[in-house]
């Protein structure tokens, strides 16, 4: 008698890739719907590029947080660190004491400092990441308001030039009503986003560190037994996240040109939502890094769609919230149908396979 669950070697899609695929499909459907429903605004390539132009900093924050989330952690200080960096860099540039490179260095230093602090407390002293990064969030917010209360517009010529610099794509664009061809424009921040996506994707897929991050996110106890330095890996995941938040602050400043206490507000929440939509689970260990930008794009498209629909602004939040519920329940159902113990949810009888 042959037992029914005899295992045959078969390679099926990994959970990470399955969730990534779902995220991709959701985005394509969403954008496709937008194209059909509101061709006026979405049929332009510039609209697509503007998602990146205007939100480069959010994309970057999401990438760093993605690494921490795959490691099974969380960092809710990223938004506040991003905001703090914009203000600190703006003050530095405006004071004329440093060049753009000096400001960039400051941004990296602030981000790394927070990352090292959080990484040490969480990895080596084994304190809950939520509490630690919550403290970090308050600290960064406090420092931000202490530095300067009013917005600072950076007027340094070299910086203004950088802010206004755009890259034109001559072969891509739209013809306006007067018949002029307007090429699409890309901001330098977008280049940073693309470079970081490529770098981080390589890091997570091909580096020893990246695979160790997956391992500790999957099961840190096992990872330790397999000979992985769990603490060091966890530490560096937070350092990378902090560093990335620093970069995002600088890119934020490059986009808006001003330091402001409202900068980066709620980025941590948007980044978490983006990652979850992108198939990076809060439990850790599961997710494709490329899901992070896909998730951000989906989140931004939702907002654009709601704006295009002309819904009242208070309804926008409601609709985004409801859509988020929908996606996440959908993910859970798919994972649960796969029979993964980790994701099992109670399914109503009509959904059982």
């Amino acid at each position: 008698m042959e037992s029914p669950n005899t295992t045959k070697p078969k390679t099926r899609l990994s959970n990470s890739n399955l969730l990534f695929m779902i995220a991709g499909i959701i985005f394509v459907l969403m954008y496709g719907f937008a194209l059909i429903r509101y061709p006026g605004s979405f049929m332009q390539f510039q609209t697509f590029f503007d998602l990146f132009n205007l939100n480069a900093a959010l994309f970057i924050v999401t990438l760093g947080l993605c690494v921490v989330m795959i490691a099974g952690g969380i960092d809710i200080s990223v938004g506040a660190v991003c905001g703090l960096v914009t203000m600190a860099c703006a003050m530095l540039l405006q004071s004329g004491a440093a060049s753009i490179w000096g400001a960039l260095l400051l941004a990296l230093a602030i981000g790394t400092a927070f990352g090292v602090l959080h990484g040490f407390l969480i990895a080596y002293l084994e304190i809950q990441p939520f509490i630690i990064t919550l403290s970090g969030m308050f600290l960064a917010q406090g420092l931000l308001t202490t530095l300067h209360k009013d917005p600072i517009n950076v007027t340094m010529p070299a910086f203004v030039a950088l802010r206004n610099y755009t890259i034109e794509i001559p072969w891509l664009g739209t013809v306006n009503r007067l018949g002029y061809f307007i090429p699409c424009e890309i901001k330098p921040g977008v280049i940073v986003v693309v470079v970081l996506i490529i770098l981080y994707a390589i890091l997570m897929k091909w580096s020893r560190f990246g695979r160790n991050v997956y391992a500790i996110g999957g099961n840190s106890q096992s990872a330790r037994m397999l000979g992985i330095n769990v603490k060091r890996t966890r530490f560096f995941s937070y350092v990378i996240c902090g560093l990335t938040a620093g970069i995002s602050g600088f890119v934020y400043l490059m986009t808006t040109g001003a330091g402001n206490i409202g900068n980066g507000a709620l980025f941590e929440m948007k980044a978490i939502a983006s990652n979850v939509i992108g198939g990076i689970l809060l439990n850790g260990g599961v997710g494709n890094l490329l899901g992070a930008p896909i998730g951000t794009m989906t989140l931004l498209t939702i907002n654009e769609l709601i704006r295009a629909a002309g819904v009242q602004s208070n309804l926008q939040a409601i609709v985004s919230g409801l859509l988020l519920y929908l996606f996440i329940v959908l993910q859970s159902i798919v994972m649960s149908l796969r029979g993964e113990r980790k994701f099992r949810i109670v399914l109503p009888p009509w959904l059982k396979p």
Partner: protein, 503 residues
């Protein structure tokens, strides 16, 4: 067949506060040998393995590996010396691929060479006959295959000694066969395997040698072929040294028309015990006998609804009731003292007093708290009644010895005045004196009309206390022994042979 000795442990002793876990134990493993390490709960099997792999530091004795005296400080160090362990709980990462699980944490290269790694993994899986593909996610493999991957990793790290700790407990028959095929392959390669299991049939199928431990002491090393099952069981269960001459168990005061206190028909639970019938009379003490893993704990957990009950009908005092949760059972006058005292019994940080009143408080509901004065009265009453040795009622229960902790948990249930009390291994890991006290208490309670079910790994203890033994094997009731003149021999024969017809 006397081949080369690769591991020799001599005079190993290890104690924990209040317990001598190992006393002067010797153990020898030869090249290409499958050596079963046998013993009941608390016999010291896992302590011995943990000493060998460096989880615990030994108090005395030496470990000689390949003729050299060695000291391991961590499982990683043991692994580097060629001692690999595969635990019942799989220590791999479910979200990584099979190949990654075999190689992660072993290379110092900054980058992963996927192609090379997958090719190496495929070759190894092939040579060991493991049905898995290197690129599949580990979580998509069955538990058996995951275990084999874990073994393959150890083999690739040149392990000369492989410890398999209860590897078969979550495998089905087919998977066990595959695992055994792999074990034979490794044996042929000269790997020495230490095999720990509680399935006797498997021991006889695969092992060459058996070492039996009991109460932290070495009973002996035997050739499997020369040791019958009944001998093995009697060596594992043995006799506890205690004077119990003054104890007298008694027949339950039943008349033919009496209604059982508790009666179940066709009861089964999600924990995997086969449907069984069970009844207990007022003032009766009965027990589930059987080896560890035979389903004795699962049965009583089903009675108490501690596991999800999947079928069956329950009558209490002749009235049909539905028990869905432990609270339902408690409200119907059933108490349950779990096997795992540390995790399911005591609440470590709470005081002795709070631990004692816990069950009563739960039954009253948290909105009607016991007054402090009342709680103290109750606590003091039972501390005296059971002779609990504690500095004060406010002492955290953690700091008490195992025997006293057990008495506190007992007091907790006695305070609720149950009419039916289930005690699962109440005497495990506690000293002989307290053991006898608890046994006497059980008999006294029965005299007062409480019905009890008593489970113990020590068969002689059960025979002393219980007037009826329900014998289990392989998660099924295989027989019943009752009367005043049941002997250990009877019980062991039934355990050894009872299930034969079903396997």
């Amino acid at each position: 067949m006397q081949s080369e000795i690769i591991l020799r442990m001599e005079g190993i002793s290890k104690s924990f506060p209040g317990v001598k876990a190992l006393q002067n134990v010797d153990f020898v493993l030869r090249k290409g040998e499958i050596h079963a390490l046998m013993g009941e709960n608390g016999a010291g099997k896992s302590t011995l393995i943990k000493v060998l792999t460096g989880v615990y530091e030994k108090d005395a004795g030496q470990i000689i590996l390949d003729g050299r005296n060695v000291v391991c400080r961590s499982p990683q160090e043991a692994l580097s010396m060629g001692i690999g362990t595969v635990f019942q709980e799989i220590a791999l990462c479910p979200n990584l691929t099979v190949a990654e699980n075999m190689f992660i944490g072993r290379s110092q290269n900054s980058f992963v060479r996927w192609k090379e790694m997958n090719a190496k993994a495929a070759q190894l899986l092939d040579s060991l006959g493991i049905p898995a593909s290197p690129t599949q996610e580990l979580s998509s493999c069955s538990i058996a295959v995951q275990q084999m991957v874990s073994i393959a990793r150890a083999i690739d790290m040149d392990c000369k000694i492989l410890i398999l700790d209860e590897p078969t407990s979550s495998l089905d028959e087919d998977e066990v066969k595959k695992l055994f095929a792999l074990m034979r392959e490794l044996k042929a390669r000269g790997v020495g395997i230490i095999f720990i299991t509680h399935f006797l049939d498997q021991v006889y199928e695969i092992s060459d040698t058996i070492t039996v431990l009991r109460n932290g002491e070495l009973i002996g090393e035997y050739q499997t072929a020369a040791l019958s099952q009944i001998e093995l069981i009697s060596k594992m269960m043995g006799k506890a040294l205690s004077d119990v001459s003054e104890m007298k168990k008694q027949e339950p005061q039943t008349s033919s028309d009496s209604v059982p206190v508790f009666e179940a028909t066709g009861l089964s639970s999600a924990a995997g015990v086969r449907p069984f019938d069970f009844r207990i009379e007022k003032g009766e003490v009965n027990g589930f006998a059987g080896l560890l893993g035979s389903g004795r704990s699962e049965s009583v957990r089903a009675i108490f609804a501690a596991d999800k009950v999947t079928s069956g009908e329950v009558k209490i005092n002749g009235k049909k009731v539905k028990l869905k949760t432990p609270l339902d059972a408690m409200k119907n006058g059933i108490g349950y003292l779990p096997e795992d005292r540390k995790h399911e019994g005591i609440v470590g940080e709470l005081s002795v007093r709070d631990n004692i009143i816990l069950a009563l408080q739960v039954m009253k509901g948290f909105f009607r708290p016991l007054s402090r004065k009342q709680a103290e009265e109750f606590a003091n009453e039972y501390i005296e009644k059971l002779g609990i040795k504690t500095p004060s009622i406010n002492t955290p229960i953690d700091s008490l010895s195992g025997g006293n902790q057990q008495k506190v948990v007992l007091a907790r249930w006695l305070l609720t005045h149950p009419m039916y009390l289930i005690l699962d291994e109440p005497t495990r890991g506690i000293d002989v004196g307290t053991k006898v006290e608890i046994q006497k208490l059980v008999l006294r309670l029965a005299e007062d009309g409480v019905s009890l079910t008593f489970i113990s790994s020590e068969i002689d203890e059960m025979i002393r206390v219980c007037s009826r033994l329900i014998v289990m094997k392989d998660r099924e009731i295989v027989g019943e022994l009752s009367g005043m003149n049941v002997t250990e021999q009877d019980a062991m024969h039934m355990i050894a042979q009872g299930g034969k017809g079903h396997v």
